[in-house]
Symmetry: C2
Subunit: 436 residues, 2 copies
């Protein structure tokens, strides 16, 4: 196949992000798939609206059916939301033998059974990684990565708006209404925030997660749903004092008497990893009987994180229609002829900050000598702590953090320190990484 | 196809775990794949050794070539480790057109290029999810879930032994040698711990991760590797005082001048999620240009966590050879005819602990009345805090944590409390989940 051609319905935040990611990473994606993946046709309600993406190479229309009906389009990406028009268009695409990628959790949680049945009938794929957890590949983890397991339970922070509000209430000791208003100003919450703060959005997502975890029918109506609007800052504070955090969780659990499906504010022990997932970030814990607890963390919303999941689905579809089953995913993730011997950076040129610990004689001029060596080599000190000497000892321990420097600068500093006669024993050096 | 038949090489910890998971979850796995996946032939060095699994249904042999050559075997699972015999057997299986699943990071990091080329030539799959991060589906996340991204960097705690040692050094203020000895007693560290504590095992895993993140050739020899043997408990303590944790990280980073590949002890800010990954658990952070930072967490070793990854690969292979590309992964993860309408538990029967907050009149007998209602309904109190009343106020705030109870018990308690005349206003109730 020469290329996999995409028809895009919706050019809003996620649609724009999808155009941007597919354009910017076209080469990287082709290295993975073995052929180009490109958007050739797109529909938007208003063609004159300013966009976050360049649509120069794409045929635009206000009629989404034109895109669905375009015979050159192999895959339809549905990003218009809602569940009336979206459903019509998805079913129309399937009827024409087109694969579908959708980020529409409401549509799939409520009408997924009919859509998936139609797709099966017609032999096409309907992929929906972007419907839950933004860019986190949680659908893939559940359907494939954990396929060996009988899932016992899963619990997720699956609504970024709610988590942003609860995090700000805790960090800043503010009230719900106050933080909600800020979230609306920042664009993290809709003008009508009901879907997010009342847990309906989370219930849509939980429906999909529970279904693929346990192999049960989609059961959105059965999800118990309670919002976070009645959480007060007192509750947040008292929970903290007791060693807990309040998070808005979607929980699905297998019990001997039946499956639990529930979305509600929840106190969880502060030492749990998921209790430390803050702001608009999402995370899902899945407990499998073989693997034990696993956690998946990432941005739950936003143009490019969500586009990351949409495009991962497109790569999946493209690989399925473009490769043999055995070569679908190349062993090393990239096509064998696309493996590129990029230069490897010698360790001497690697940059990192440093932690240094040394024992020095406790006398005047020592710090001056050390800091002048650092200054000579243009190494900045981030922090320096001098530990009180033990009574009767003439050596003090000095602990330093440097700013980021090249490895060879630090090697030179070490060589210079080696010539000093007031440093006792070896200097301990450990790299520091901020991972941001 | 009637069933996918597995030949297993090695019946040690992971081999035994694989037998146990495939046996226990046979029905769940068949619901996902659409046909049984079963081990029919297995090789072990010593057939009389006691095992963690029941091998009653499996033909056993001491000659692994017998398993590889068995014409009824479709997939070979290589779990014998090392890189001499293992390589011969893997290449022999490929030459016979058999798919291979391996957990052998040393083999693949050093000889993967030849093995993957042979597999490509012969049109078979070589899957290796279990080689990195135990049960965490990190290979799948990188090769598929994040396929839209240009990966900027990744950093992982990818050796459980090292993380167990560093965690114990911090939590218990102990020395490296002391904790290592304990890890050896517990079976977390080998008699010769070099591979783990000197970072060689982590370097094998980093080699695989970096290759599939960037699409570069396997470059194990180029990985800078530094162990944790020289980390002292003082360093752990001082790092903590400065707001950092010491973790043994494998880091791969794309820089304008080249790719960095390095394994070394590293100070990371304590507030980072990965800084809070403790004990034998593993985690990998992957930063993609579209998705931003994502994190994958789970057990990095152990019989069943590793078996979880081995069996996930088997499911992948079985789906590839048993299904059409379009139906490879069913929409809901399970085969459409295997979706089961399990009973859904009514909310009244859901069990959880509770946080309660109420304002009560500050007078004698109030606590007695409350606690006797709890006692009547068999609700145990885990913690109770009475907040000092504001000067001049006659109401005090009472915060309670209960033990786990049925929702209907709590509803009854609320009804009884409603009849009391010393509770002012509404009672706030929030569920508590321990997530363990």
């Amino acid at each position: 196949m020469n290329s996999v051609n995409i028809g895009l319905l919706g050019l809003g935040t996620v649609g724009g992000g999808t155009v941007n990611v597919l354009t910017r990473n076209a080469a990287e994606i082709e290295r993975r798939v073995g052929c180009p993946v490109r958007i050739i046709h797109a529909a938007a309600r208003d063609l004159d609206k300013p966009r976050i993406c360049d649509t120069g190479e794409i045929t635009l229309t206000t009629d989404p059916r034109e895109v669905v009906d375009n015979p050159d389009v192999h895959v339809i990406v549905e990003l218009i939301g809602g569940d009336t028009l979206a459903q019509d268009l998805v079913l129309r695409a399937i009827a024409q033998g087109k694969h579908v990628v959708s980020a529409n959790k409401a549509l799939l949680a409520k009408h997924g059974s009919a859509i998936f049945a139609a797709a099966r009938e017609r032999g096409v794929m309907v992929a929906y990684e972007a419907a839950v957890g933004g860019g986190i590949p949680i659908i893939k983890a559940l359907r494939e990565g954990l396929a060996a397991n009988r899932v016992e339970w899963l619990a997720g922070i699956i609504n970024g708006t709610g988590n942003f509000i609860l995090t700000a209430m805790r960090d800043e000791g503010r009230d719900f209404a106050d933080v909600l208003a800020e979230a609306q100003r920042l664009g993290y919450a809709e003008a009508d925030p009901t879907f997010d703060v009342e847990g309906i959005d989370a219930a849509h997502k939980l429906t999909l997660l529970a279904t693929i975890a346990f192999g049960i029918p989609l059961a959105f109506e059965a999800v118990y749903t309670e919002g976070i609007t009645r959480i007060s800052r007192e509750d947040v504070t008292y929970a903290e004092e007791l060693g807990y955090r309040i998070k808005h969780l979607g929980i699905a659990r297998r019990t001997p008497k039946g499956i639990e499906l529930r979305v509600h504010p929840t106190l969880i022990p502060a030492r749990r990893l998921i209790a430390n997932v803050d702001g608009v970030m999402n995370a899902v814990v899945v407990k499998g009987d073989a693997v034990g607890p696993t956690l998946y963390y990432g941005a739950g919303a936003g143009d490019e994180p969500t586009a990351s999941a949409v495009v991962a689905d497109l790569v999946d579809v493209a690989r399925a229609i473009n490769c043999t089953p055995e070569s679908r995913v190349p062993s090393l993730g990239f096509q064998p002829d696309a493996i590129e011997a990029l230069p490897l950076l010698p360790m001497s040129e690697v940059e990192s900050a440093w932690y240094l610990r040394m024992q020095v004689v406790d006398k005047p001029g020592v710090l001056a000598a050390l800091t002048s060596i650092f200054a000579d080599l243009e190494i900045s000190i981030e922090a320096m702590v001098q530990k009180e000497p033990t009574a009767g000892e003439s050596l003090v321990t000095l602990v330093l953090l440097t700013r980021t420097v090249q490895e060879q600068q630090m090697d030179q500093a070490m060589a210079r320190f080696g010539e000093l006669n007031f440093i006792f024993g070896d200097i301990t050096r450990i790299r520091v990484e901020y991972l941001n």
